[in-house]
């Protein structure tokens, strides 16, 4: 492992209540038994782990992602103390600090802190007010669009001034709306780095039509192509182009790259990649605290070996698909069911097929012969 991502649960509570939240409104509710904000022991344990792991050269760089709940609920003073402790532990070229926030608590004093410790910021905004407020609501059910956009505007201004090194946007796909509208709105606010996430759904909870998700992403793709601005990055779409052309994905757990992030809970407990949580607590539990963690041992453990096997095995369903070499069955969590584990096709399969076909057509029409797109498996039986 050259790089390691650690998802640090600074707060296991949130100031808003998004209806689709995998953490609070998903299948697993272990947050309720954890401290609301991270303990000092967990931070000390993480410092120890980072210095030990870098000194042993088990990894070259570590990225700590401040996550939650809403991580800013930890409060400015503690946030500053935690950043300071982590920055004292490793040099800037060995340690990246990142924040995933709903942006509703952002003010100038937060920006001073984020700037001081060079924290890269990613915000959550689903699109226009109508799109965003459909699911991203407060505890009374009121939309949070305006509080979010107010915070985003402060962050983007700080980015333009050079005070923040990165400000990106994540958007959860709402298939009943237009992908074009969502993209245009986010790009119009001034974001140049963005992604559109398929919701955290397994075969147990997926309802609706997978093709609608494909249609949404195709609309985003077409609007992005119309803009034709290489400075605007849409991570999933760039990843699809890359894996079709035989390159790697930019997104852990999709295409070529294994989901190997670790999660550190507010009490210091270590779990596997947080996005496996929707498959149940058994999928992520390790039984180890961060202060005791030996990363080499964990990555060689039965659980990680089994995760790698799942990631590297395509469902039988995908066997004759044109895009099996590039899509690789989609994100593994989207394949999960209690009955079959990860052996199903993705719940988004039909939509992903349409999207991969659409992006492939774009590449071909851009002059790349189909024979030079290794992500298309052309030797299919003809019907």
């Amino acid at each position: 492992v050259q790089q390691q991502q650690i998802i640090l649960k600074l707060a296991e509570r949130c100031n808003i209540n998004c209806t689709y939240c995998y953490y609070f409104n998903g299948n697993e509710h272990s947050y309720a038994s954890r401290p609301a904000t991270i303990t000092s022991e967990a931070v000390d344990g993480l410092q120890y782990y980072i210095s030990k792991t870098l000194a042993a050269r088990h990894v070259d760089r570590i990225q700590v992602i401040f996550h939650g709940g809403e991580p800013l609920m930890v409060g400015r003073r503690r946030f500053g103390a935690i950043c300071s402790a982590l920055r004292d532990t490793a040099s800037e070229d060995q340690l990246d600090l990142c924040l995933q926030t709903n942006a509703t608590l952002i003010d100038d004093r937060w920006i001073d802190l984020l700037s001081k410790f060079d924290v890269k910021v990613c915000t959550s905004l689903d699109g226009t007010q109508e799109i965003h407020d459909r699911n991203r609501v407060d505890r009374k059910g009121n939309g949070t669009y305006w509080q979010t956009v107010r915070g985003i505007q402060l962050l983007l201004r700080a980015f333009e001034q050079g005070r923040l090194s990165s400000v990106a946007c994540l958007s959860v796909i709402q298939p009943e709306f237009s992908g074009r509208d969502a993209y245009r709105h986010i790009a119009g606010l001034g974001f140049s780095q963005m992604d559109f996430l398929l919701p955290d759904l397994t075969h147990a909870d997926f309802v609706g039509c997978a093709k609608d998700y494909g249609r949404f992403l195709i609309e985003v793709f077409d609007a992005w192509i119309e803009d034709d601005d290489p400075h605007i990055h849409i991570r999933l779409l760039k990843s699809i182009m890359s894996v079709l052309l035989g390159g790697r994905s930019y997104l852990a757990g999709f295409g070529t790259d294994l989901p190997n992030a670790l999660t550190v809970r507010s009490d210091g407990a270590v779990e596997l990649d947080d996005f496996l949580r929707m498959c149940g607590m058994d999928a992520v539990h390790t039984g180890v605290k961060i202060s005791q963690l030996d990363s080499a041992q964990l990555f060689a453990s039965e659980k990680m070996v089994s995760l790698r096997n799942v990631f590297n095995t395509r469902p039988q369903f995908c066997k004759n698909c044109l895009f099996v070499a590039s899509c690789r069955g989609g994100q593994i969590t989207h394949r999960f069911s209690q009955a079959n584990g990860f052996r199903n096709q993705s719940v988004f399969c039909d939509g992903l097929f349409d999207l991969f076909q659409h992006v492939s057509k774009f590449l071909i029409r851009s002059g790349i012969p189909i024979s030079r797109i290794p992500g298309i498996q052309c030797d299919q039986p003809q019907v």
Binding site: I225, E226, D228, L245, F254, C321, F353, K361, C378
Partner: protein
């Protein structure tokens, strides 16, 4: 959805025919395609190994 089914072969064959037709179109009647800069950027990223703006990191799904 059962685990032992396969992607519909008719759907696969239709998609392949469409992709091949797109290839034939561009060979027989070349016209400027939209998104040229983005296509070039994707190819250039591939040659470099990873997009430079992402600092060689593969990002975690739920953040950047």
């Amino acid at each position: 959805m059962a685990a032992d089914k396969r992607v519909d072969p008719k759907q696969v064959a239709k998609a392949l025919r469409e992709l091949e037709a797109a290839g034939t179109e561009i060979e027989s009647a070349p016209k400027p395609a939209g998104g040229k800069k983005l296509a070039n950027s994707a190819i250039s990223d591939l040659e470099k190994g990873v997009h430079p703006a992402w600092d060689a990191w593969i990002s975690w799904t739920k953040s950047w």
